[in-house]
């Protein structure tokens, strides 16, 4: 069997898994942005839904090209985030988490009861325009932009706010402005991910963007580690692959997700990709290999 045949077979079976990895990585990165600014927002599933519906409706009802649909899929959630962010981001900690959860639930019910969104039936027959390279390109762009932000003045402001909001404010950092910026960036990424997702699953419904999905997104980011960009990407990849790997366990395979989540929080509180810990492991082994002069 030649490589191309193997590849065709593999791709036919697993292309949705590969697509999902890319989209989930973008979602995990979208929550990473807000977390990097010290905000726990659970609204990203709702923003994903807004982006998915906006893009799908454009593709289905107008002749506009796919990039336009994607752009609107990113812009509309950004606009919504801007509007709800101004009052909501005054809240901190668990209060913000709960308010954003509340917003997500309200979005779900509104989508459930509108005609244009197809109500509980959702939208079917969305044109399958997402190609693998769209996802790779947009994930790459997201990673690049976020890496640039991280090293810029904005990134340092985010970090200052995350460490100590009051100190940051005293240093002259525009806390409210930067929080809003992080919220809007997160919403945009989630919206684009939603738009990409809608265009390869053909069908979307209000249930795809509920609390469980918000939790899934958070899980991927936390599992991978949120101290850098690689963590969320790795977390999304592994947790997307996990159900495939655990297929034999049938009913109990989803429980494995929970077990892994608990174990990671208990034993790897900074996620599996924690550069400092990884460095420590290597420096420890270095010390061990160095002659110490003692015979043990």
């Amino acid at each position: 069997m030649g490589f191309m045949e193997w590849w065709d077979g593999f791709w036919a079976t697993y292309n949705t898994v590969v697509f999902s990895i890319g989209v989930n990585a973008m979602l995990a990165l979208s929550i990473y942005v807000t977390l990097s600014c010290g905000l726990l927002s659970l609204a990203n599933a709702a923003f994903m839904g807004i982006g998915a519906y906006a893009a799908a409706l454009i593709s289905m009802n107008t002749g506009l090209p796919f990039p336009v649909a994607l752009a609107v899929g990113g812009a509309l959630p950004a606009l919504v985030a801007l509007i709800i962010g101004i009052p909501t981001l005054r809240l901190s900690g668990v209060y913000l988490a709960m308010a954003t959860l509340g917003f997500g639930e309200v979005v779900r019910v509104v989508v459930l009861n509108m005609d244009i969104t197809g109500g509980p039936m959702g939208l079917n027959g969305i044109p399958p325009t997402t190609e693998w390279w769209h996802i790779v390109l947009l994930l790459g762009v997201t990673l690049y932009i976020l890496a640039r932000i991280r090293r810029s003045k904005i990134g340092r402001a985010f970090e200052a706010i995350k460490e100590d909001e009051i100190a940051a404010r005293l240093m002259g950092v525009n806390v409210a402005g930067y929080k809003l910026l992080a919220f809007v960036i997160g919403a945009t990424i989630a919206g684009v991910a939603g738009a990409l997702n809608a265009h390869y699953t053909f069908t979307i419904g209000p249930g795809n963007y509920a609390f469980e999905n918000a939790v899934d997104i958070l899980t991927m980011a936390v599992f991978g580690g949120t101290s850098n960009l690689i963590g969320p990407t790795i977390g999304a990849t592994l947790l997307t692959l996990l159900p495939e790997v655990l297929r034999h366990f049938k009913d109990f395979r989803l429980a494995a997700n929970g077990i892994i989540l608990v174990l990671v929080i208990l034993y790897l509180p900074k996620g599996i990709w924690d550069p400092r810990r990884i460095r420590n492991i290597f420096s420890k082994t270095d010390k061990k290999t160095q002659p110490t002069g003692k015979v043990s």
């Binding site: 005054r90 959860l101 509340g102 609390f211 989803l254 997700n257 989540l261 608990v262 208990l266």
Partner: protein, 293 residues
């Protein structure tokens, strides 16, 4: 018509309040949002169902044992998951996410053990009597639900306000470190709190199982959403607030369904929550918001 709705609302609201009470107790004392409370609630109703179905126990005994069983599950969750995080002084987010994991495990366990379909109490378990007062129709189950919830709520309130134990718990809620220095067995009371909260959750599970006569592994999730809305509305960690907000949510939902549309039932709680957080970030009955910040 309105009277009838108010009766339905009272019965629904008291279950919400009972559920939220355990939730808010854990937040108040341990400072943890325990997102496995919904799953423990669900297991409580399964335990009662199994005891009635397999051992033909009377309902009241099944309910007591279900409370005990869910209390034990809460204790185990505390010991295995929350205690190590306490020891490490983990940030608030960690226990919240860990309990999401616990909820996933318990829900899938229940699905594996009992199947995903609706289960019902065998016929004859639930008293089918009902009483009519004028135009109002009240079932025995509704009366039982309101009675049991209120008795449990008043017991908890009494313990918290009148006893030495309650005083100790309130001291821990203020500051675990100071309470420890004053010679209070903080760790022990954490376990007791987790046990009591889970037992209250289990009781709510049995009552909901009885009132809808439908038990599924997934019944905890929507209840958890209501519980979150209730404890925020009531002011986090405030027991009286949770009781009032629970009843309030019950009324808001029933009246929405009756006079507006059933479509928006599930958005009522979160819609209220969202609005109230914007206007009054500490909740309707909350006191100072950033005490611990």
């Amino acid at each position: 018509m309105l009277e009838q709705q108010l009766i339905n609302a009272l019965s629904l609201g008291s279950v919400y309040a009972l559920f939220a009470l355990g939730f808010t107790l854990v937040f108040g004392v341990l400072g943890v949002i325990n997102l496995s409370h919904g799953a423990i609630f669900m297991l409580g109703s399964y335990v009662a169902l199994m005891l009635v179905e397999q051992l033909a126990l009377p309902l009241w005994l099944a309910m007591l044992l279900a409370m005990l069983a869910s209390g034990l599950i809460g204790l185990i969750v505390d010991y295995v998951v929350l205690r190590p995080l306490r020891k490490r002084n983990a940030p608030h987010l960690a226990p919240m996410i860990a309990t999401i994991g616990v909820a996933i495990i318990l829900t899938n366990l229940a699905q594996g053990l009992f199947g995903a379909e609706n289960k019902r109490f065998p016929t004859g378990t639930i008293p089918e009597d009902s009483y009519t007062f004028g135009s109002v129709h009240v079932t025995a189950v509704q009366i039982g639900i309101v009675l049991v919830s209120f008795v449990l709520m008043l017991i908890l309130l009494g313990v918290m306000r009148r006893t030495q134990l309650g005083r100790a718990l309130r001291a821990i809620a203020e500051s675990p470190k100071a309470a420890y220095l004053l010679g209070i067995n903080v760790e022990g009371l954490f376990y007791l709190t987790s046990f009591a909260a889970a037992a209250l959750g289990g009781a709510a599970g049995v009552l909901v199982g009885l009132s809808f006569n439908a038990i599924t592994p997934f019944m905890g999730q929507p209840m958890l959403h209501k519980g979150i809305a209730v404890i925020i509305l009531g002011g986090m960690g405030d027991i009286r607030g949770a009781m009032i907000a629970g009843l309030f949510l019950g009324f808001a939902e029933v009246l929405t369904v009756a006079y507006l549309s059933s479509d928006f039932r599930d958005a009522v709680g979160f819609g209220l929550l969202f609005l109230i957080l914007l206007v009054r970030p500490s909740g309707m009955f909350g006191k100072v918001l950033e005490r611990k910040a």
